[in-house]
């Protein structure tokens, strides 16, 4: 029923279809960016510093004369790795914690959810900044740090969804037939809280991309000369006067990607939300 609803949405809503196509393209570039790049993204050329579009450099060059298009293409991969890695970490641990917070013993549940509240009292960007400020920065550590920071958000969603499922009579039915906690979690809770978790995952991918690009923008994320979109925007800000298109291209790509994820997330929420579906 849900796959059909998604198929129907792709047919009826052009924005949804466009977003999926765009995300597929971004994913493709993330995997094959190194082969797609028309020129060497690391080749310095003092002759072609900060140029606009030309036949040689379709999107122009950066402050070291490197080909912007090539750098944009290979800049996708680190961003995607960080975003997907972070979402995986946040999703797995956040879901576990959220379920424990709703279904665990009362004292444990209380402590877990209070800790989640306290972790939520810091904006993620600030904690990320602290963490990468003290530790070294790189794809792996960024993914871990961002992932850990979004665990409480995931836990909140999993917690609320589990509480909702816990009130359903089929949970009582499981307990009445003597089902083990393991069975209850894996057959009764998890399949039934999957929908909000999927939506939360799309939101987390978007948030992680924004967070990584924000850190890279500040020069605390992906370390040069390895490019990432946020870092390119940060650097390009210094050359707004000389080459305004330098800042526009990565900004456009980043915003479009996040927009596509948000559109997909919104649609999924509409499709997966049972309250909306029954209408």
């Amino acid at each position: 029923m849900i796959p059909e609803a998604i198929l129907r949405a792709t047919r009826n809503q052009p924005s949804f279809l466009a977003s999926i196509v765009l995300l597929a393209a971004v994913l493709f570039i993330g995997v094959f960016g190194n082969w797609l790049a028309p020129q060497d993204p690391f080749l310095l050329n003092p002759q072609t510093v900060n140029q606009g579009s030309s036949a040689a450099h379709w999107l122009g060059t950066d402050e070291f004369g490197r080909d912007l298009l090539s750098r944009l293409l290979i800049g996708v991969q680190p961003t995607l790795l960080v975003a997907i890695g972070a979402t995986a970490i946040a999703g797995v641990f956040g879901t576990m914690i959220g379920i424990a917070g709703a279904y665990g013993r009362p004292l444990l549940a209380f402590l877990i959810m209070r800790s989640v509240d306290i972790m939520l009292s810091f904006p993620p960007i600030l904690l990320a900044l602290l963490a990468v400020g003290f530790w070294e920065s790189g794809i792996f550590s960024l993914a871990v740090v961002i992932g850990v920071l979004y665990i409480p958000h995931f836990a909140r969603v999993a917690h609320a969804a589990t509480l909702q499922v816990s009130r359903m009579e089929f949970m009582e039915a499981e307990h009445a037939m003597g089902a083990s906690a393991r069975r209850v979690v894996f057959t009764a809770i998890l399949p039934n809280i999957l929908s909000p978790l999927v939506v939360q995952a799309t939101l987390t991918v978007a948030a992680a991309i924004l967070l990584e690009s924000g850190l890279s923008f500040l020069g605390l994320g992906i370390v040069p000369p390895e490019p990432s979109w946020g870092q390119m925007i940060g650097t390009a800000r210094g050359y707004l006067g000389q080459n305004p298109m330098y800042v526009i291209w990565p900004s456009l790509l980043l915003a479009l990607t996040v927009l596509a994820i948000n559109v997909v997330g919104d649609r999924l929420r509409d499709i997966l939300d049972p309250r909306l579906r029954e209408e």
Partner: protein, 325 residues
């Protein structure tokens, strides 16, 4: 009547107590983080490259109180923090509290300016979209809002600078002027960072306002009011919006809380000397007391704002204000 006043007082007391406990736990975490994080402040302070003598290290340790047991350091730190004494900056010996007190109002000002812009734009647009659900107006507004939440704040900031500073030359691209020196210049420099933050927030407030209003519009009592023959306009203003105000106020308050520290990118790109700027500088300089002080200030501001929001929420909503007796 008396019982309801007593109930409200009890509610305030309970929320206050929760906030205090939360602040205490956060303070403990902030203290302990400094001991988990790598790097020895003493070596950093003396300059690890200059190969300081063991005596210098020992004397510096005792000077900083680092030779005490961790637990007693913790209590001393906590006791001092209670008196708003966060120690001295490692770089120049200046009291951390002074830095915090100097930069906190600037972050607060930026945050409030941003949230006011966001609320003034976001709430009316959200309501306008919800009241005409499914119309072209709704589609357009919803699309703009979705685009709005997808544009990172620093891109928004860059675009604003490109347009208002570089192209039109109306507003300065960055910087800060104290209000006591030049009021006009102060607000001119506040404008772009506040807009950069506020526009993105406006989009997310508009989205949440829309769904709150839609949720209320779907309730049974709205149908009952229509059945009573109440004019639609009055149903919206007197009942739907008043009910929707409760979640909307909460959303705005939570966003404001998130701006404590959430302003970091904007502060950095517009050279706005607020709390997060202080924190970023302190982190890169490994200036531990300053890091602790700034973090504690951010957390305290966040917790305080949330407390106010929760109290406001409970006062607005009779279902919480007056539990069924």
């Amino acid at each position: 009547m008396n019982a309801s006043i007593a109930g409200a007082l009890l509610l305030v007391a309970r929320k206050l107590l929760t906030a205090i406990i939360q602040l205490f736990v956060v303070a403990t975490l902030i203290f302990s983080v400094m001991y988990i994080m790598p790097g020895d402040p003493v070596l950093l302070l003396l300059g690890a490259d200059s190969n300081p003598s063991p005596e210098a290290i020992v004397s510096m340790r005792s000077q900083l109180g680092l030779d005490q047991p961790v637990l007693s350091q913790y209590f001393v730190w906590l006791w001092n923090a209670l008196h708003l004494d966060f120690g001295k900056s490692l770089t120049n010996g200046y009291p951390v509290a002074n830095y915090v007190m100097q930069n906190l109002p600037r972050t607060l000002e930026l945050a409030f300016a941003a949230i006011i812009i966001a609320a003034l734009i976001g709430v009316p647009l959200g309501i306008a979209a919800a009241l005409k659900r499914g119309s072209t107006r709704d589609t357009v507004l919803t699309s703009i809002a979705t685009i709005g939440i997808s544009v990172p704040v620093y891109i928004m900031g860059t675009l604003l600078v490109l347009f208002f500073s570089l192209k039109l030359g109306w507003l300065p691209a960055s910087g800060y002027t104290d209000i006591s020196r030049n009021v006009f210049e102060h607000f001119r420099k506040l404008a772009l960072p506040a807009l950069a933050l506020g526009l993105g927030l406006a989009a997310s407030i508009a989205r949440m306002t829309r769904s709150s209003v839609l949720e209320i519009l779907g309730r049974d009592f709205v149908r009952a009011l229509r059945a009573k023959g109440m004019p639609e306009r009055r149903i919206i203003w007197q009942h739907v919006l008043r009910n929707a105000a409760i979640p909307i106020v909460t959303i705005i308050g939570l966003q404001l809380g998130n701006l404590m520290g959430g302003t970091v990118l904007v502060e950095a790109m517009f050279n706005w000397p607020g709390l997060s700027t202080l924190l970023v500088g302190a982190v890169s300089a490994r200036n531990y007391p300053l890091v602790q002080g700034a973090m504690l200030a951010i957390a305290a501001a966040f917790i305080l704002i949330n407390l106010v929001v929760e109290l406001l929420y409970s006062l607005l909503d009779p279902r919480i204000r007056r539990k069924r007796s």
